[in-house]
């Protein structure tokens, strides 16, 4: 990396004055790849920060679930919640969906980038395709979880304490979930070139995953078919540790805890939170891998 400035001929002095600034593009290295990842990531943040309307609109859905569904069904549900407010019960699930849907939209930006041509600008740069995909996924994850922070700020309203351990844990889980969903979305977006088809496919997949995940109900005592689906749904393994984390910091009776936070079991074995988190992480990385592979093999 060296620069060579050459004297300009007097007749063609550049408008800015001074000599021509000549830059050189270095050989590809780990450092340049990291820089590329960083700038792709940064772009997502800049675009998000510029779009205040979206910050507001994407809050509508989680708030509807939390306050309208939570308050509306309170009376019906009160028999089974052992004195815990339904809104409190729903809170961990809402922390998950608030990032899920935004992560999905973040992945959609990949399709927009292709449609508006910007993807080409990135594709002809002397960087690996993987750096672009990784930057996109990390950017999507960051944006989605920053939205999650806003929902997390409502904890007090639904009687969840502002405990530092809880906050850090929730953020970490949100980041992980957002990353996995973005990776999934980008994996789809690499192949689907039309915005409408992409949103259709995403909705077709993400909405059922969300409903089945147990974000809105405890994952025990379900009918057999739903239990099977719930255990197969990767999202369940993000919702469950989130709920466990929040309930660890609630002051409620053991009976209520057992009823509302039964945990996920595999053939009677109580799956530990660590395994659940690993399931989500491995899946996210696997989908990132597929996305990179597919993106690298397209011309």
């Amino acid at each position: 990396m060296s620069t060579a400035t050459r004297p300009t001929e007097p007749s063609v002095a550049p408008p800015a004055g001074g000599p021509i600034v000549r830059v050189t593009v270095p050989q590809r290295s780990l450092r340049s790849e990291l820089r590329a990842i960083k700038v792709v990531w940064q772009r997502e943040l800049i675009r998000f920060a510029n779009n205040r309307l979206r910050i507001v609109t994407s809050l509508v859905q989680p708030l509807l679930f939390l306050f309208v569904l939570g308050s509306g069904l309170q009376r019906l549900a009160s028999a089974g919640t052992h004195g815990v407010s339904l809104r409190t019960f729903l809170f961990p699930g809402i922390l998950c969906i608030s990032v899920m849907f935004i992560a999905m939209f973040q992945a959609a930006s990949f399709v927009w980038d292709r449609e508006f041509g910007f993807l080409r600008e990135m594709m002809v740069a002397p960087v690996r395709r993987s750096s672009i995909v990784i930057g996109k996924c990390l950017g999507g994850a960051t944006v989605a979880s920053s939205q999650g922070v806003i929902v997390l700020a409502l904890a007090g309203v639904v009687n969840v304490p502002y405990n530092p351990v809880l906050i850090v844990g929730v953020l970490a889980l949100q980041l992980l979930l957002a990353f996995t969903i973005t990776a999934f979305g980008v994996m789809i977006a690499v192949r689907i070139r039309e915005m409408q088809s992409f949103m259709g496919v995403m909705q077709m997949i993400v909405t059922p995953l969300f409903f089945i995940s147990g974000a809105l109900f405890p994952p025990s005592g379900l009918p057999g078919w739903l239990t099977v689906l719930n255990r197969l749904d990767p999202m369940s393994y993000a919702v469950d540790p989130m709920r466990r984390l929040v309930f660890n910091h609630l002051d409620i009776s053991p009976l209520a805890r057992r009823a509302l936070d039964p945990g996920i079991t595999w053939w009677g074995w109580h799956v530990p939170a660590g395994v659940e988190v690993a399931v989500v992480a491995v899946l996210g990385l696997a989908m990132l891998g597929v996305a990179i592979w597919q993106f690298s093999t397209t011309e």
Partner: protein
């Protein structure tokens, strides 16, 4: 780092390059070299294979056969080295319109790994060069088509490429903006040590180039300096409007032994001394002539003399062909 098969002195060297899509051969074996510092124009109607060729040179498409080196690097084997040394301005816009001009340029510099302390000075320079310094902190969505194109040229220059590719840099712009873009390109050539490879289908623009290659149906049909190509045609172009064009063509052939053709709705033909021929034309052609014009050979005539059609008519043909194929496909689907 110079690869074995490309001459170190050439900015671009192309040998027997072909590209086949499914069963359509878009580029049918082209050869040419571009010297460092040259402004080289690729001229031809839409669908002639210009963009496909540029895509292969920019490493965006793999050649079916043949080879090419750009800035001394093989476009297939040393893709990254080619990319480090080229700047690109695509036919379709590729700016992020939600970012400001500066943000777009910075992003590019980061992607290309430009040394951090040089990003700002270089950015200021290219912004001045294309006259967008005053608008640098405005989001590009508010830019006009011409401003966007200028910013894209500035962005293509951010990393001081050795070869700048411009694919139809002035397409869809009004004449005034086109002229200003050309002023920037000429200015750029004086200021930077750079080779410019561009495609266009505007004949008048090709005259700005040092050399041009005329492409038609995937092949290069002529390649030389614009003046040389025009001199080779040698004849002035006479265009007449009559009430019965077919009869006029037949009559011109019969009386003067000159082959005339329909071009853009008028009868056109070439003669060595146009002005002196016109009085004879009026005297000897036994039909009324509504208007007549004589012009010195232009690149349009060059194109016509090599391909037998004007560039605009060639495009209409391509469009008709496309429509025909579409109709066949659609009627096939119905059946």
């Amino acid at each position: 780092m110079i690869s074995g098969d490309g001459k170190a002195t050439d900015a671009i060297a192309v040998r027997g390059l072909t590209k086949t899509f499914d069963e359509v051969q878009a580029v049918k074996g082209v050869d040419f070299e571009v010297a460092p510092g040259e402004v080289f124009g690729f001229l031809g109607p839409n669908g002639a294979g210009k963009t496909t060729t540029i895509n292969m040179l920019c490493t965006l498409a793999k050649p079916t056969s043949g080879s090419a080196t750009v800035a001394g690097h093989d476009v297939v084997k040393e893709r990254d080295n080619v990319r480090r040394n080229i700047g690109l301005v695509f036919q379709d816009p590729t700016l992020d319109n939600y970012l400001t001009a500066t943000q777009n340029l910075k992003l590019h510099a980061e992607l290309y790994g430009v040394r951090s302390d040089l990003v700002k000075p270089r950015m200021d320079q290219v912004l001045h060069m294309v006259g967008l310094w005053d608008r640098r902190d405005t989001k590009t969505m508010t830019f006009s088509g011409g401003m966007r194109r200028r910013l894209e040229i500035a962005r293509g220059l951010m990393h001081s490429p050795r070869v700048l590719f411009l694919d139809e840099p002035t397409i869809g712009l009004d004449p005034q903006t086109r002229r200003s873009i050309w002023t920037y390109i000429r200015q750029l050539k004086e200021q930077e040590e750079i080779t410019i490879f561009m495609t266009t289908h505007y004949m008048d623009e090709a005259e700005w180039c040092d050399r041009i290659a005329i492409m038609d149906h995937g092949q290069i049909v002529a390649l030389d300096r614009p003046e040389t190509l025009k001199a080779e045609v040698g004849k002035d172009r006479v265009t007449i409007h009559t009430d019965d064009d077919d009869a006029a063509i037949a009559s011109i052939e019969e009386r003067f032994g000159i082959e005339a053709r329909m071009a853009e709705g008028a009868v056109a033909f070439g003669v060595p001394a146009g002005e002196e021929f016109v009085p004879r034309l009026f005297a000897e052609l036994d039909m009324p002539i509504r208007s007549v014009s004589v012009s010195r050979p232009t690149l349009d005539d060059v194109f016509m003399s090599y391909t037998g059609t004007t560039i605009r008519d060639a495009e209409d043909d391509h469009a008709k062909h496309r429509n025909r194929v579409m109709m066949q496909v659609m009627s096939g689907m119905r059946r």
